[in-house]
Subunit: 337 residues, 3 copies
């Protein structure tokens, strides 16, 4: 344990960076800076504090459960925890019970991550990615309606920095630029374009191809969601873009070997994710929960599952492209086989 | 690719026939004739056109993704696409965006088919069957509510040929005959008894036992749904019968070797499917989507999964019974193992 | 078959005892006594009769399908049937169609049990436990809304012995004692503290550690649900406790080898189950169905799946602790591999 403790900060920062499949403490610092900026702009700090608690608790839980050391050190047991920690204070008002909820939720996210790894990844070759966050987050937000100590803020979930609400059309070019960056920021539940720009910088620092894929995903999401006539107020907040951004990155760069054919495949996956975003928003509404990154998770699972049909060396991460990167989710898969 | 192209029409017609597990171009022609007749009767041609686009796009996508050639030639990558193409114009009004939706949905259905094949079939021995259609169709119809360019026609989904609505009881023997055939027609979302009769003819042409199973499934569904007091207006449209028809065929003939014991097992499965139909209609209603063939898919998965308990040679298709039949979904399973 | 028939009563009583992972006919007798006492107190006997029919039909179905003999003799094909048989008359008014429903539902529960065993257990190492009951029960209760011959009693499901409804706070110590026992009784859908006490006795007879885990689970559920501010009327009926009771027993004693670390892990799992209970109550409400033991099932699946991370000999039942116990669900897993 002594050996572990010296690296808890680094492991946690890598965990934050793994939300975008990076394993880079500097990216993690920038992602936290993006959260802090949004908290500063909105005056709501619980989300950033929750994210910090979440990633530390999730990483510590993985150590206590004797999970694979290399995976822990790569941040692979932290990225679902950081999202749980950021999401719960976004949708639930601050109270003593909220912090108990964040701690238990982050610890549980590590168990769920290990469960996905032992089944979906080890048996079916599908990376768990942020699926454990979606499942844990759904259960925790839905559960909050049942407990008097937890107040879900609004029937239709509202995000920390939804200051754009109420606009009817997307008319200004400047607004398209804002959407482009908000699409990226919303991966961390941040509807703030400056935060999105900081996050994009953090990705480019770790991997140029990853940054390009993220930018392309954001553009595709904008074109498709506006072209299909999605609600401008929702598009404007970046809520149609964050899942497609992750799909473009995951399918186009991280889990398949980039090639012209894979790029077409990733384009189909990204467009499909926009449609699935529209679908899941409708399907989870009766339960009063947000869709989180479920549109990405579902689409990515379906597009990665048949990977053998696509390339002789599928599911190979872009090892060479990432700074200081020698394990990815693929490594986790191998470990637990 | 040159070798492929010569067979696109045949592959697509086989794809249409695989909705009933047949691999017979002539059956496919009759199934398209059934759709065309219903379109002629209702004046709505978008469903038949959508089905044609769907099966061609799905088959072409499978070729582009280098899916297994024999499976493509057997129509196994087309039958989910033909259903997606028929279903979307059934529930969504015609618009430019609808056709984009049909093309993307059909292409995605091939990816989903490959995903089910690589996991459910290859790892758990359960045929995907029309599960990919159900998943893709649910997501596309639910998604349509989110996009201004797509208009879901009616809160409670209505089918193309629902001209029977409003009746209160089932009193005439002639109506029981109509229901018998509509139960079969509704597999292709056709509430038209003539279409149902054409489809049944197409099945008998390919396989006598298959035709008998389909007819028996339709009768069992009628007896159980009327006996349990299901809504006569819904029963009359054939909406309680199409999933049981598929269950009777799949469990009694296609995936298990027909025997007296398997026939009792298929009877239990068929009765269960009627109950699951009632259940899923209730469960998916809050999301505003139809249950499609999900009652069949869920019941069949559950009854086929433990097949080793039933027979020494389970999951063996009735090869000898089918004209020109040498691959079935079972073959797909073997290919991808 | 002749050899079988002589043991049908014993097999069925063991089936009843397997709801709590025991394989002890005497426990089964006490569990039936608990149901009978609640029926006597409420005047509703359909639940106890349904339970008896359910376990016998489920066990007979397993024999007809040639399921593994040892598993049948251990009651492993009966415990989902007994719960289906107890649950359907709890939520659906008595009618001729109800009894058809109970028989078909119990028979189907055996198929679902075999399906879970062949996939989740054999392929992923996760015990099915009461998952088949939850799935079958959900479908049957939801389906009842569609059939005129079946009357779901109340929109919000009410339980047989909900005579405690209407209370606003939990003020008396005596009430905490009642909740403690109702938490256990509700595993059999019995909101009756005397029934709960009889069941606890039946568990202690079979295994002291199991009895301790059940008592601890009930206490943890009380503390967490009251501390988080759950609806006192619901807490008072024991509806926040029955799933945590099963989680504490399953994770702490049955599927993992008890140790200090496993006890902490089981504590986290038990607390999580209380939250998941709150979540699933909200999530299944739109479909008009009760959550049944789904909070236990989902949490247990997630906490057992990564078992290799926890202990060198995980998933080993406490063979030595149980009277007359030589097969458990783990044995089922091995059989079907």
């Amino acid at each position: 344990m002594a050996v572990h403790k010296s690296n808890l900060l680094t492991d946690s920062l890598k965990g934050a960076s793994q939300v975008f499949f990076m394993e880079n403490p500097l990216s993690g610092i920038l992602f936290f800076a993006a959260m802090a900026y949004a908290s500063y702009a909105s005056g709501v700090w619980a989300t950033t504090i929750g994210a910090a608690i979440g990633v530390v608790i999730a990483t510590l839980t993985a150590r206590l459960l004797d999970c694979d050391d290399k995976s822990i050190a790569s941040g692979l047991f932290g990225f679902n925890g950081v999202l749980v920690g950021a999401a719960l204070p976004t949708f639930i008002a601050v109270s003593p019970q909220l912090w108990i909820y964040v701690v238990v939720g982050a610890a549980a996210s590590t168990v769920v991550t290990a469960a996905f790894s032992a089944t979906l990844t080890a048996k079916w070759g599908i990376p768990g990615s942020t699926g454990p966050f979606v499942l844990t987050g759904w259960l925790m937000v839905a559960g909050a309606y049942s407990f008097g100590g937890l107040l879900v803020t609004g029937d239709a979930p509202k995000l920390t920095t939804d200051y754009v609400q109420g606009m009817a059309t997307i008319s200004q070019p400047i607004e398209l630029v804002q959407i482009f960056f908000r699409n990226i920021g919303q991966v961390y539940l941040l509807g703030n374009e400056i935060s999105g720009a900081i996050i994009l910088l953090g990705i480019f620092i770790a991997s140029i191809p990853a940054g390009i894929a993220v930018a392309a995903g954001s553009l595709v999401a904008m074109v498709v969601s506006i072209g299909m006539g999605a609600d401008p107020a929702v598009v404007s907040q970046g809520l149609y873009g964050f899942s497609p951004v992750l799909t473009a990155l995951a399918v186009g760069v991280v889990f398949l070997k980039t090639s012209p054919k894979v790029m077409v495949y990733a384009l189909l996956a990204t467009v499909t994710t926009v449609f699935v975003q529209g679908a899941l928003d409708v399907m989870v509404a009766p339960a009063g929960i947000p869709s989180f990154t479920a549109p990405y998770v579902l689409t990515m699972y379906l597009f990665i599952a048949p990977k053998k049909l696509l390339a002789p060396h599928p599911h190979r991460p872009v090892v060479g492209h990432m700074v200081g990167h020698d394990h990815t989710e693929a490594a986790l898969s191998t470990k637990t086989t």
